[in-house]
């Protein structure tokens, strides 16, 4: 059962090709890490998965009961959010917007969903706090709760540990692993290859003209991993 199927995908924006020949599948329950050097097209691939940037070529399909927009997204923090006056409750509740349809206001179902996910992320007691006063780890858990409100099956995370201290980073990875064990499919863009091979089930390594997709085991036997290891040793 595959949620997302990509074949010979060409990525880019404003007419410029960033990466090509990307083919992979994401199946239910996978924990896929997308790695690659800066500028290799990781962020563009992520935007394509979310439907924000259309692919320049190739095939991109969402299938098997995964509706478009039924993706929980954890974006990188923007500078707008750093001094944004909003309570934790308001932010998490805004994740349920897609289930409102055309109705202008949140109903009981949305509020119950928000409460459930806040308890799941252990931030229910912070619900009246101001988002900008929270620590980095707490802010990530708020955004994670919001993403879980938007989708109960697939999470897409963009460099989620940037700016977190080492302890919060480990806690965050364990939290994601726990969600994966509960049955959620995870796609994470990361530059942290060590954590990727420790926690993920599959690795997608993209470069400008070639890419690798396979399990962590296969990745560590591939030339991509050898080249990376050589670079690290030097």
């Amino acid at each position: 059962m595959s949620y997302i199927k990509c074949k010979n995908l060409v990525l880019g924006y404003e007419g410029m090709v960033v990466a090509e020949n990307i083919s992979f599948e994401v199946n239910k329950g996978d924990y896929l890490c997308i790695v690659g050097e800066n500028g290799a097209g990781k962020s563009t691939l992520m935007k394509t998965l979310l439907g924000l940037t259309p692919p320049m070529g190739g095939v991109f399909e969402c299938s098997d009961g995964l509706n478009a927009h039924e993706i929980g997204y954890l974006p990188q923090q923007t500078f707008v959010q750093r001094d944004f006056p909003a309570s934790v409750w308001e932010i998490v509740l805004s994740g349920t917007l897609s289930s409102c349809g055309r109705r202008p206001f949140f109903g009981r179902a949305q509020k119950e969903l928000a409460e459930k996910n806040m308890r799941r992320m252990d931030i229910w007691n912070l619900r009246k706090e101001c988002y900008r006063k929270l620590s980095g780890g707490q802010q990530q858990r708020v955004l994670l709760a919001r993403a879980l409100c938007a989708s109960s099956v697939l999470l897409v995370l963009d460099e989620p540990v940037t700016g977190l201290d080492p302890k919060a980073t480990v806690e965050f990875y364990q939290l994601i692993k726990r969600l994966n064990n509960e049955g959620l499919t995870i796609i994470m863009v990361s530059h942290d290859v060590q954590a990727a091979i420790e926690y993920a089930s599959h690795i997608l390594h993209i470069e400008k003209e070639r890419s690798f997709i396979g399990t962590v085991q296969e990745y560590m036997e591939s030339e991509f991993w050898r080249e990376l290891a050589n670079k690290l040793e030097m």
Partner: protein, 294 residues
């Protein structure tokens, strides 16, 4: 001592009585009532949108638009049209959409493009007014368009009706779309990924801003319009922690400042626009101090 303080409080009571009588006297005139109604409504609308504009870093749109509206008004008045708003409103709305597009395109020096458009409109407006105006007092006209001066007190019944209709539409739209506006303001990418048509709401915000700016030009003049948009939101953000709280508190601040400003300007014959903005500055400083102590 005792006698003195009694006299003191008697004096204050006397002044209060005179002021209240004076307010009652003025309020019996329809033009003062019109000014108060229009002032309250415009303050309410501008503060509601102001929160979103400030947080999305769109304040520059308000500023740029006010200059464009000035240019359009100058051209319209030269042609001696019976209703200037019919020309100024569409031009400003078109400029709003244009500014929004260029502002988002960071590669094309968005901020310089806006500076160009707004200052250009200002210069052309002033030029046109000087070259073609039939009025005897051009600099007086320019000053009142820029700073509002007395035009708020010469509103006609039709202008008041237009303002009421527009304000009802703006407030209704804001309430109905409140949750979506919050989502787009806080995190546009997330909103788009979950199926919210972010670009539509951005355009809507820009169009409504244009409408409010054209209406508010009567009240405070085109140079001071952005103060009405920016100040209440910034004041409220100093002390309030939630988005809903900020929206409500900034609406309260804006309406109160507007009412106090109009009343004071009538009592002491000061310019309406700058008195309202001065009231907003005082409130902003007060909120800054309160926010520090928190």
């Amino acid at each position: 001592m005792l006698v003195n303080s009694c006299q003191g409080s008697g004096l204050i009571e006397g002044i209060e009585r005179i002021m209240i009588e004076e307010i009652q006297f003025y309020i019996s005139y329809p033009f003062v009532r019109y000014a108060l109604i229009v002032g309250t409504l415009i303050a309410l609308c501008s503060s509601l949108l102001g929160v979103s504009l400030v947080l999305k870093r769109f304040s520059y749109i308000g500023d740029g638009l006010s200059h464009v509206a000035f240019g359009a008004l100058a051209v319209a008045s030269v042609f001696n049209l019976t209703n200037n708003t019919l020309v100024v409103m569409p031009v400003t709305i078109a400029a709003a959409i244009l500014l929004l597009r260029t502002g988002q395109n960071t590669k094309l020096y968005g901020d310089s493009a806006i500076a160009m458009v707004s200052v250009g409109a200002l210069a052309v407006g002033y030029l046109v007014m000087n070259l073609f105006s039939t009025s005897a007092n051009v600099s007086g006209d320019v000053c009142s368009t820029l700073f509002g001066s007395t035009s708020i007190l010469t509103l006609t019944r039709a202008e008041v009706a237009l303002c009421i209709v527009m304000s009802v539409i703006v407030v209704a739209l804001f309430v109905l779309l409140y949750n979506r506006i919050f989502a787009v303001t806080f995190d546009e990418n997330f909103a788009r990924a979950t199926g919210v048509k972010a670009q539509l709401y951005n355009t809507l915000i820009a169009v409504i801003t244009a409408i409010i700016i054209v209406l508010a030009m009567n009240l405070v003049g085109s140079l001071l319009v952005s103060a009405l948009v920016v100040f209440p939101a910034l004041s409220a953000m100093r002390v309030i922690k939630s988005f809903k709280g900020v929206v409500i508190y900034s609406a309260v601040i804006s309406v109160c400042c507007s009412l106090v400003g109009i009343t004071l300007s009538i009592l002491f014959s000061t310019p309406v626009g700058s008195t309202i903005v001065a009231a907003n500055i005082v409130v902003f400083i007060g909120n800054c101090i309160a926010g520090r102590r928190h």
